[in-house]
Structure formats: structure tokens, C-alpha cells
């Protein structure tokens, strides 16, 4: 998990998540406010530079994180550009490039790039636990927050269990043929499924032992210079939106 690693090691990891969230939000607004694809791409470039130079994310890692989404965008853009023409009979179906749609495809691509850069800024600088803390301050329903906290903690426990079981199964030729694979994978998922009940029961008992009788309560994290960071983020974000409006 490269994003996860960046979130805990980047230069801005102690910056208030509210500030980073607001800047990322401005990035999303800029992507949608851009009237031309070029302006949206400009916004994406600014966000990318801020993430790499500001937060100190290695450029290569940034690219590796963005690559799957970029590939996905390329495929989607291709499917947008192609148009299906259905003739008078059902057999008469043909694909052709819709020339009129080109402008639209460029617009969508620009917007997606801008949006992706804004998302990556938040994801690569802010740990999920900080984002959950931010959502707590934004008065997200308690149950949803508890689900997120528990999910974030437990998903690593499950990933480890899955990884270990996969290794053990592969070592005994569990994935040698397709038939074996299906059965091994099915067995793996079933084992993890049973663990859902076992682990939740254990966590429940552990919570009782520590005097819990309702929603999970945690201490709020304190961030130094929170107000200053928020002011900086908002002015930077506003400047980005203004810039995008000016060039488009």
C-alpha cells in the first residue's frame, strides 16, 4: 500500500487534516470549474507539483500510485470516443469514432485528471485515521465512524491472515490448477468469514473489559498551528480556483 506508506511518512503528516481536506476540496472545485481541458490539466499539474515538492512524495511513487487510475482513464476515454451505430437491422451494428464527441472526451479527461490529482493530494498526505478524525469533527454519524475505525484497524489483520493463508495454500499446490484455485480461494474466504464473528466477539469482550458501554470513544488528536494551516490552505485553494477560471 504505497498511499498508506506516504500518508505516514510525508513532510505534511502532522499538518491539520482540516487544512489538507480543504485544499483538496478546492482542487476538486477547480477541476469542475475549469471551462477548458487545458485549464483542468493546469490545475492537475499544480496539485501534482504541490504534492510532490510540498509534501515531499517521491515522484516515482506518485506515478506508480496514479498509473492504474490513468490506465483506467485511458480505457474510459477510448470507450467515450467510440460510438455505436445501430443500423436498420440488428445485425447491422458498427463502431466508429465520433468526431463531434472529441471535445467532450477532452473535457472529461481534463476534469478526471484534476480530480485525481486533488484526491491523491489528500490520500498521500493524510492518514486514514486523520481523515476519520476530521469526519468526526464534521459530525458524521457515530455508527459510521465506529465502522470506519474498526474497519481500518481490522483490514490489516485480515490482509495478514489472507496473505499467510495464500502462502500456505500455494506451498501445498493449492493454486496449481484452475479447479484447485477455486477450491482454495473458496476455503480461504470461508475461513475469513468465520473469523468475522470470532473477531468481532473478541473485540466486544475487550471493549467491555475496558468499561465500554456504547459508541467507541477516542481522544481527539491535537495539531499544532491548525488555524495557520487552514488559512494557508484556503488561500492557496482559492488562488488555484481563481487561476483555473482566469486561464479558461
Amino acid at each position: 500500500m504505497l498511499i498508506e506508506h506516504s500518508a505516514y511518512t510525508n513532510r505534511w503528516r502532522r499538518v491539520s487534516p482540516a487544512a489538507k481536506g480543504l485544499f483538496s476540496l478546492c482542487g476538486l472545485v477547480a477541476a469542475y470549474a475549469a471551462a477548458t481541458p487545458a485549464a483542468a490539466c493546469g490545475s492537475a499539474a499544480v496539485l501534482c507539483v504541490v504534492t510532490v515538492l510540498g509534501a515531499g512524495i517521491p515522484p516515482l511513487r506518485y506515478l506508480r500510485v496514479a498509473a492504474p487510475a490513468l490506465f483506467f482513464l485511458a480505457v474510459s476515454a477510448l470507450s467515450l470516443a467510440v460510438s455505436l451505430k445501430i443500423g436498420p437491422s440488428m445485425a447491422d451494428v458498427s463502431l466508429h469514432l465520433a468526431r463531434t464527441g472529441f471535445q467532450r472526451v477532452a473535457q472529461v479527461c481534463g476534469r478526471s485528471l484534476g480530480g485525481l490529482a486533488a484526491l491523491l493530494f489528500l490520500a498521500m498526505t493524510t492518514s486514514l485515521i486523520d481523515i476519520i478524525g476530521l469526519l468526526r469533527r464534521l459530525k458524521t454519524p457515530e455508527v459510521l465512524l465506529d465502522m470506519m475505525t474498526l474497519c481500518y484497524r481490522t483490514l490489516f489483520v485480515f490482509s495478514e491472515a489472507v496473505h499467510d493463508t495464500l502462502t500456505a495454500q500455494s506451498a501445498r499446490l493449492g493454486y496449481a490448477t484452475m479447479r484447485h484455485s477455486m477450491h482454495s480461494l473458496g476455503g480461504l474466504v470461508a475461513t475469513i468469514t468465520v473469523q468475522v464473528w470470532q473477531r468481532s466477539q473478541a473485540l466486544h469482550v475487550a471493549a467491555l473489559a475496558r468499561n465500554n458501554d456504547g459508541p467507541l470513544r477516542f481522544l481527539e488528536q491535537v495539531y499544532p498551528h491548525s488555524t495557520r494551516d487552514i488559512c494557508l490552505a484556503v488561500s492557496g485553494g482559492a488562488a488555484l480556483v481563481a487561476l483555473v477560471r482566469v486561464i479558461s
Binding site: Y8, I129, A206, L208, A209, F218
Partner: protein
């Protein structure tokens, strides 16, 4: 069995407990834990160690019999449980089944916040507990990047943070001592560490011995299938060879045994 006459902090009296699926958890278990003692609970899987622990913290309620805390029967009302659980902490075997939050400080703050303490107090307690378990430097790492041992320390810190009196005395632990009970399969470790060894067997506390007196009960111990301390076994064998007198004090660890042998050798080589 040795008669306990001093001041027990926790006591279970003829506790019976059956799980909803019908399996027997405890079947008339009695045991007294002395204040300030170190008790090791030994027994095979399913002997009732975990069930007993869950009773000591008030999570399970006996179907018959009683659990006494500081001489008084546990009050299973909200207030009573609140009191009991703020005094009796529970650290589970597997930290992955106990830690809720991926942030170390958040997880430690969980218990004290449940006690209804204000944020400032909780913040102090969290820092104290982190210091006590030596995890201050790792506190900013997410839990999933910690080693097993480090996670375990976070669990202990979570319990420590609930009890101010305990956290304060921690650096003077040896002087004042808190009451500690552990459940383990490691007989060698238990023999070396504990003052009292309690043996669980099919839902009852079958025996409770002072560790110092254990050598006298080795034959009985073997019958429970929890193993025999290797040091005690070797001590016995050496005594059988005539190297030690039978009335020598118990040797509890490997190094103690080596010392004793060296001493004997020195005595033996003297003209």
C-alpha cells in the same frame, strides 16, 4: 492445598458457568488471589483459564457461586461493574483481538474515556502509560506497523491508563507490587516468575501451590498434563543421585540451578 489466610484481593467461590452452547466453562471453581501476589494460572486448552479471567473482570457472571472483590461480592449493576473494571484490568492473549484503533494514542485513551474522565486527564494518563511501557517513541506509528510485542505493550498501556494508582506505582513495581495474574502454558516461565501456581482442570481450580513448595507436589503435577518445570525435574534427579540433600530450598530457574550445582561442586572438591 495450602490454606490461604491473608488478604485476598479477588476471590472466586465455587463458581459454575456454562456457555450458551452447553459447554462447561467453570464447574465449581474456587481460588483466592492474594493482594500484591503474582499468580500463574496453568491448564490445558479448555480447562477454564479464559473463562475464569472473564469472571474476574465481570464480563461473565457466575451461574452459581460468587466472585468477591476486596472481600465483597461483585455488584453486577452499572456502577458496580464500572468500579470493578476500573480496578481490574484485562490484557488479552492476542493484541489483534483487542486493539480497536489504528492510532496508538487513540486506543490507549479508549478505557479512561469510558471511565468518564476529562480530556486533559486522559491525555496525561495516555502519556504516562506510554512512558511506563516504553512506547513513547513508537506512538506515532500506526498499530499495523508495530511488531507483535509492541502491540502487546500498547494493550498493557491501555489497561494501565485506566488505573492512576497503578500507573504511579509502576516504576516502584518491585517495591510495592501490583497484583498480577497470568494464564500461560509455559510451565518453566510460570515457575520462575510466579509466587503462586494455580492449576485449572476441566472447569475447576484443581490445585493452588506456593511456587516454593512445588517440588513436593511434582508427582501430582504430572497428573494434570500441564508439564513439569524442567528445572524442578532436574533438581529432583540430581537429588536422587545424592548431589543435593532432599531438604534443600526449591531452585526456580536455570541459573539458580547452575549456581547450586557450582556450590555443591565446590563443597565436594574440598578435602
Amino acid at each position: 492445598m495450602k490454606q490461604q489466610t491473608t488478604d485476598p484481593i479477588l476471590e472466586v467461590q465455587a463458581v459454575r458457568f456454562r456457555y450458551p452452547d452447553g459447554s462447561v466453562g467453570l464447574d465449581g471453581c474456587s481460588l483466592a488471589i492474594q493482594r500484591g501476589s503474582r499468580t500463574a494460572l496453568l491448564g490445558a486448552n479448555g480447562a477454564g483459564k479464559s473463562t475464569l479471567f472473564l469472571h474476574l473482570n465481570g464480563i461473565l457472571r457466575p451461574m452459581s457461586g460468587a466472585v468477591l472483590f476486596e472481600g465483597l461480592p461483585v455488584d453486577y449493576g452499572r456502577q458496580g461493574l464500572h468500579h470493578l473494571r476500573s480496578r481490574v484490568g484485562l490484557v488479552f492473549q492476542n493484541p489483534d483481538r483487542q486493539l480497536f484503533s489504528a492510532r496508538v494514542r487513540e486506543d490507549i485513551s479508549f478505557g479512561p474515556l469510558n471511565l468518564g474522565l476529562d480530556a486533559g486527564t486522559v491525555r496525561n494518563r495516555v502519556e504516562e502509560a506510554l512512558l511506563a511501557v516504553g512506547m513513547t517513541a513508537c506512538a506515532d506509528k500506526p498499530v499495523h506497523n508495530l511488531s507483535f510485542g509492541q502491540k502487546k505493550r500498547v494493550c498493557i498501556a491501555g489497561v494501565l491508563a485506566m488505573q492512576a494508582e497503578l500507573a504511579q506505582i509502576l516504576d516502584r513495581l518491585h517495591a510495592e507490587g501490583m497484583t498480577v495474574i497470568i494464564a500461560t502454558h509455559d510451565m518453566d516461565y510460570a515457575y520462575q516468575w510466579a509466587d503462586v501456581l494455580a492449576i485449572m482442570d476441566t472447569g475447576i481450580c484443581a490445585a493452588s501451590w506456593d511456587a516454593a513448595q512445588l517440588p513436593a507436589y511434582l508427582d501430582q503435577l504430572e497428573g494434570f498434563g500441564v508439564g513439569v518445570p524442567r528445572v524442578a525435574e532436574m533438581h529432583k534427579a540430581l537429588a536422587a543421585c545424592g548431589l543435593f540433600g532432599p531438604d534443600l530450598p526449591a531452585v526456580r530457574s536455570h541459573s539458580e540451578l547452575l549456581d547450586a550445582i557450582a556450590k555443591m561442586a565446590a563443597v565436594g572438591s574440598r578435602p
